[in-house]
Amino acid sequence: MTVALFIEYIIKSVLILAVMTVGFAYVTYYERRALARMQTRIGPNRAGPFGLLQPVADGLKLIFKEEFSPIKADRLLFMLAPVITVIPAMIITAVVPWGGVVNIFGYQVPLYLANVNVAILYLGAIASISVYGIVLAGWSSNNKYSMMGGIRSTAQMISYELALGLSFVSVTLLAGSMSLVDVVQAQGAHGILGWIVWNLSQPLGFILFIIASLAETNRSPFDLPEAEHELTAGYHTEYSGMKFAMFYMAEYIKIIAMSMIASTLFLGGYLGPFVDQIPWLGPIYLFIKTMIMLFIFIWVRATLPRFRYDRLMAFGWKVLLPLGFLNMLIAAVITVLRGG
């Protein structure tokens, strides 16, 4: 590993962390504005032009809040749980390609941090770690509502992770690789036609992925671990200040990550018109696709009420899992017909 490569990795890592953190702040703003419009309100528009400084104001407020922990809480785990939740969310997008190879001052730089050959397994593995943080937060708070939120989180996970995994499997079958760079290139291999065929063959997989990622990120209608009305905010009831902000951050960064992964697996990632000639268009296309995916997340939140706990499990096992197998079958048939 040359020094130049080392510096390149550090710059890319810092860039990803910075984009994710700033992205988190502005996704909250985006969500509040979009949600407000869906409810025929205006949303935050006071702090700065168009309310663009609202996330800064919220962040400052949370920094100055009192750090509080319950008297019989397990202090170590109580402090550790938000960290366990936020770190996987920060590192999950390391394998998502932002674009092709660009030329910076005569130096060929690929616009992705890591081209891992098991990137899809990495996604599945890292995405599940944050559930530990949620369960530990619920358990260490010494609060019955937090505990129930944590337990719900585990039960929810075993019902949607399979569907998520099966939608990954069908993409892997079609692409013939687990690397996300290869997945994107497989979508662009046969031009615009190949991209359309890819998407037409995977609508079921895409919908399964969206449903599973809604559950993965604890978003409405699957926000059972943090159900405000039943569990008084569930696993983060006892958290305040920056520790609460970290849970909040983990949730929103995971939404961004899931949107990026969905765009990469099903919407062609950084591919778009003229991206072969101008590789810098790659991140812009990925950004636009991610924004559309984020809009879907917000839209679903504005529309659907929360699922009942047992119905989510029944839905996961009796509907999503068979549909996932069906989708895998479709992908397998297409792969055989294509002669792969």
């Binding site: 407000a36 419009r37 869906m38 409810q39 025929t40 504005a302």
Partner: protein
Amino acid sequence: MFVVELGRGLWTVFRQMFERPVTIQYPEIKRPVHTRFKGRHNLHRYENGLEKCIGCSLCAAACPSDAIFVESAENTDEVRYSPGERYASTYEINMLRCIFCGYCEDACPTEAITLGDNYELSFTDRRQAIYTKEMLIDPVPTDGKTTPQKVPPHSFDRSIPVMENPKD
């Protein structure tokens, strides 16, 4: 069918995005208050500029939350504030106590106090919640003079001014 209902719900929410927001941007746009709205109190003047309040303290007596404090003093022809025998030298309303019931308005014999349409009562300190006579009283009418006035002797001899019967 579940999926169709889901789609209808999503479509309804999406359509809402193109409706006009119902939000009223408050400090810039103020909605007019309703008739008979009970906001901050106003102390009124006659056309000649004399104060209607004669310092009788009936409003303070009627006040259920004891928010009004009135201290009265004697008028003379040299220093005249109101057409009656006495005037309110101090008139204070504690807006933290006031419940905006309007009993002071009903109790007033000279229709000197009414509850107006100002609802922007905010303060950062308890002392600021006490509204004094200077803050409550109306500005002097254009063809009147400010109080205290110097009036010809024996022009106001009654202990309370002449009042018409209420019209409404």
